[in-house]
């Protein structure tokens, strides 16, 4: 049984019932008490009436991955009562609305019956209100059971109801009714409870998609095109929300343009047109959109146009699991489009990095003149994470890459010793100089095309020239490997030959697992990949180890394949460690996978 500031509580509700805001308020209150929390929304691809869960892990130690084993269940959904009960650990608690009495067939779980509907019926006449305030009544009961700080709850209520102040007193009343009932009828507080802590102090609570939208604002993006798809929609919405506040002139003119396109083909086409014309441009999508965008990604790759694409991954293939998380697009993004193509990928591990890598993505795209994809996922994108605050250095200069002004065009030959050509490698880094439409009356015009072209962008069917140009573009990826974010390497055993490779949302689960494994007597080194193409550090780490667990959320061990293909890591050293059921990774999963391989006896004991 877990204890103070260390437990998992799960809310089982029906979507569309208004529970989401009450649940968020609950998590936010704990966060504001300084307690590290993680909140995971498990929701259906549906608008109303289907089961939804909200899991909150409370961890003073700062372990914020999902954890199996529910200590406290708030069972508000009659459709799932029985399954929800089964999830509770022995010795745990279950709170339900006893207005409709139920039979609970477990004696090892304490059942707390709260007459929620009855309380609401006797206090409010309006049917909708009765429904909505039910959620606040259980929050009130929890406040007593878990000894939450009432003042902080009230502040959270105020915050949540900004602009709807009329509702504040009624909400407070609902909380109080639940609280008073619990104090009078339940053994408050329970052994699992909360207290003020320091771990979350100074942090922020935010979703990765809002962070990515904000990144685009800070990166100076002005053209955004998108097509609605879960779980990426809130990236464009985040951009719009922040741009509306910070990118509108005094006379109401927008310093940005957003187009909700007719489909993903158009969305990326708009981004490419904008980037070609010198505006920082981006789109956001998820798996099915990546498939549709593939042809255009090849064009942007071959014609060397810098766009940014936020891919908020979800479970595939096909429509797959639209509301469940995963990392199943690694290969389809690394090699998106036909022909020899390769793309720069960034792997943020939390919302803070969606912001920092999101802004880096625009610099990298323009520096390298190629699409850059930010590979987030539903877990990072749509869940609230307690994470480091966003940071911005005002001295930072956005890297707009090699774009020639009229004067630079005129002086090009004198400065560089040869005439300008759109696809000439003048500097030896395989990155050519580009010009924007409208720059100069007589110089710098060229024809951008997806057909084969020579160094001056002229159409060619000469195979030798074609090979020369695509070789130069491949060399550009050698340059890319030196400037993309370097991996995060943690060394627990300098001489150790065993390690873990991971990336993205798996970070908290892996770090937690590494702690447990150390207690199991296994000190493992670890490398978090932050980008593709892989730099020298990645190769060195792989070369220094002979057993590497590659933890990822897809069936086909796609990152492992990429390491074999692109970093030439011997396949026998890489052990696929795969979770692809759509739920965020747990530390337990990683620990067991490692033990199974290295300490089979211990693994059996852990089952």
């Amino acid at each position: 049984m877990s204890g103070i500031n260390d437990f998992v509580i799960k809310f089982a509700t029906v979507n569309g019932s208004g529970s989401a805001s009450a649940n968020t308020m609950f998590a936010k209150t704990l966060f504001r008490m300084g307690i590290p929390v993680s909140a995971k929304n498990i929701f259906p691809s549906n608008i109303q009436g289907l089961p939804t869960w909200y899991e909150v892990r409370v961890s003073e130690a700062g372990y914020l991955a999902r954890r199996d084993g529910i200590d406290f269940m708030v069972a508000m959904n009659p459709q799932t009562y029985q399954e929800d009960l089964q999830e509770v650990v022995p010795g745990g608690w279950l709170l339900y609305d006893e207005t409709m009495p139920r039979i609970w067939n477990r004696s090892d779980v304490t059942i707390l019956g709260l007459p929620i509907a009855e309380i609401c019926a006797s206090n409010w006449k309006d049917v909708r209100q009765r429904q909505l305030f039910k959620n606040m009544v259980y929050v009130g009961a929890l406040s007593a059971l878990l000894e939450m700080d009432l003042k902080v709850i009230e502040a959270s209520v105020l915050d949540q109801l900004k602009g709807k102040e009329k509702l504040v007193s009624a909400n407070k009343k609902a909380v109080d009714l639940g609280r008073q009932y619990a104090l009078a009828n339940f053994p408050c507080p329970l052994p699992i409870k909360v207290r003020h802590a320091e771990g979350a102090k100074g942090k922020i609570m935010v979703t990765g998609n809002e962070a990515a939208g904000l990144a685009a604002v800070y990166a100076g993006a002005t053209v955004c095109a998108w097509y609605p798809i879960t779980p990426s929609t809130s990236v464009a919405e985040g951009f719009e929300k922040h741009a509306k506040k910070m990118r509108v002139t005094k006379d109401g003119r927008h310093l940005y343009g957003i187009v909700q396109a007719e489909d993903e083909l158009a969305a990326i086409g708009v981004a490419i047109g904008g980037a070609w014309n010198g505006a920082r441009s981006f789109t956001a999508t998820s798996g099915p959109g990546i498939s549709l965008m593939s042809e255009f990604l090849g064009l942007a790759y071959f014609a060397e146009i810098p766009i940014v694409l936020f891919n908020i991954q979800r479970g595939g293939p096909s429509t797959g699991m639209p509301t469940r998380t995963g990392q199943p697009d690694i290969l389809s993004c690394a090699y998106a489009s036909h022909g020899d193509t390769k793309h720069v990928l960034l792997f943020p591990s939390n919302p803070t990095e969606c912001f920092s890598m999101g802004t880096d993505a625009f610099d990298l795209a323009e520096r390298l003149q190629t699409p850059v994809m930010v590979m987030s996922d539903l877990d990072i994108g749509m869940n609230d994470w307690v994470t480091e605050p966003f940071a911005w250095d005002d001295k930072k200069v956005h890297d707009r890459g090699k774009v020639l002004s009229a004067a630079e065009l005129e002086a090009f030959k004198d400065v560089k010793g040869e005439a300008w050509g759109r696809y000439k490698d003048v500097d030896g880094d395989a990155i050519p100089y580009r010009t924007l439409p409208g720059t100069h009356p007589t110089m710098g015009a060229f024809f951008t095309r997806g057909t084969s072209h020579d160094e001056s962008a002229r159409y060619t069917e000469d195979g030798r020239i074609h090979a020369r140009v695509i070789d130069r573009i491949r060399r550009k990826f050698d340059t890319a490997a030196t400037i993309v974010p370097k991996p995060e390497i943690t060394t627990r055993d300098k001489a150790g030959k065993v390690g873990v490779i991971y990336f993205g949302a798996n970070r908290p689960a892996v770090l937690e697992a590494l702690d447990y494994l150390e207690r199991d007597g296994l000190k493992l080194n670890a490398m978090r990949l932050k980008a593709f193409p892989f730099g020298q550090e990645v190769r060195d780490f792989c070369a220094a180890h002979d057993t590497l667990f590659v933890v990822e959320q897809n069936r086909d061990a796609q990152m492992r394949q990429l390491l074999v293909m692109e970093a030439e890591v011997p396949p026998e050293t890489l052990i696929a460690t795969l979770n692809y059921d759509g739920t965020p990774l747990t530390a337990d999963f990683v620990r067991k996978a490692v033990l199974k391989k290295l300490r089979p006896a211990k693994a059996q004991a852990a089952e």
Binding site: Y218, G273, W392, T439, A445, F447, T448
Partner: protein, 351 residues
């Protein structure tokens, strides 16, 4: 076939426009299309229109999809940036380009395959968005570049060169454009320069979505006598509705058009369109009448050409988006990036 540049040999007698430029400076590289292809005539008309309008070529962006027609931007305006994108997607690329820089002139070139089949969705939505551009379809009723398959604009009555019948109804892009809210819709014929050049000028002057469907015979695959997009057929059935004069901003309107027969329409850039013979039935400011004119002529096997529809008061996408007067691509980072202080405020709100 590779790129063949054209030598720029200046003949002192070549006429110059107000910018001191000759036709040659508005040309591109040598055409590689079939000799006699209608598309080449449209290319020549675009060159002529831009030359006569004294447009600085580097302030024009030419964007196309894929097809013989979409290759033509290489053959005109060599001083302009061009973008030969992917099949059927010119409208989205142009949308992004236009969003980034509202100050350039956008000429989009497409084919009937490019627009009426693979790109039909993008075409419709570019119209709906009221993109400020000139959208030219070089319409030959077939897929030239893939060797002559029927396209969706080929008339049902028009058989292939080998005599196979066309089983499907044709899409009339002008009718669609009008229904979807295009502000400027015209149809013309590659073989009628006198009609085509003023229409191109008017379309470029028009602020908003200007659509030009230009019948442009494919001499290799769809120019047999029974083909309704052949030179012979169109010459015999061309029904020019009204006549249009384009008057440059700098010129004065000299003709007397007050008689009721003619009407002057002032364009956004100060130029004028003089519409003649209005009383002969077709008023291009009436969208219902425009559609009726197209359909009545089509029912008789005739092709109504000329300015079919114009809405002088249309807004464009930038009006809808309320974007700044300055192009988005020149805004300095100091105005785009809110800085660390604002970020501190955002962090505070997330605590």
């Amino acid at each position: 076939m590779s790129y063949i540049s054209k030598p720029i040999a200046h003949h002192p007698a070549l006429p110059k426009n107000a910018l001191g430029l000759t036709h040659r400076e508005y040309e591109g590289s040598m055409s590689t299309l079939c000799a006699g292809c209608g598309h080449d005539s449209i290319t020549a008309a675009i060159i002529e229109a831009c030359f006569e309008m004294d447009l600085p070529a580097h302030r024009i962006a030419k964007i196309s999809g894929i097809g013989c027609s979409s290759k033509t931007p290489t053959y005109f305006l060599g001083r302009s940036h061009g973008f030969n994108s992917v099949h059927g997607r010119m409208p989205s690329v142009t949308t992004g380009a236009n969003m980034a820089n509202r100050d350039l002139v956008y000429i989009g070139i497409s084919g009937d395959g490019d627009t009426a089949s693979i790109g039909l969705g993008q075409f419709c939505h570019a119209v709906r968005r009221k993109l400020n551009m000139t959208y030219i379809v070089m319409n030959n009723g077939c897929y030239g570049l893939t060797k002559g398959q029927f396209s969706a604009t080929n008339d049902k009555s028009s058989p292939s060169k080998k005599g196979e019948a066309n089983p499907f109804e044709a899409i009339d892009l002008c009718q669609m454009a009008i229904q979807l809210g295009a502000g400027f819709v015209a149809r013309s014929f590659s073989g009628d320069k006198r009609q085509l050049i003023p229409l191109i000028k008017a379309a470029i002057s028009y602020k908003g979505f200007a659509f030009l469907d230009v019948i442009s015979p494919c001499v290799t695959f769809n120019n047999h006598a029974q083909a309704t997009k052949s030179f012979e057929y169109v010459r015999a059935h061309n029904q020019a509705i009204g006549r249009l004069d384009y008057v440059e901003p700098k010129e004065e309107i000299t003709v007397d058009y007050a008689s009721g027969e003619s009407k002057a329409v002032t364009m956004h850039d100060g130029s004028h369109l003089i519409l003649h013979k209005l009383d002969k039935g077709h008023d291009p400011r009436d969208s219902n009448a425009a559609i009726q004119t197209i359909r009545e002529n089509a029912a008789k096997g005739e092709v109504a050409t000329g300015l079919l529809y114009i809405n002088e008061a249309q807004q464009d996408l930038h009006d809808v988006l309320a974007t700044d007067d300055r192009p988005l691509n020149v805004l300095p980072m100091s105005e785009l990036c809110p800085g660390s202080k604002a970020l501190e405020g955002i962090n505070a709100r997330l605590r």
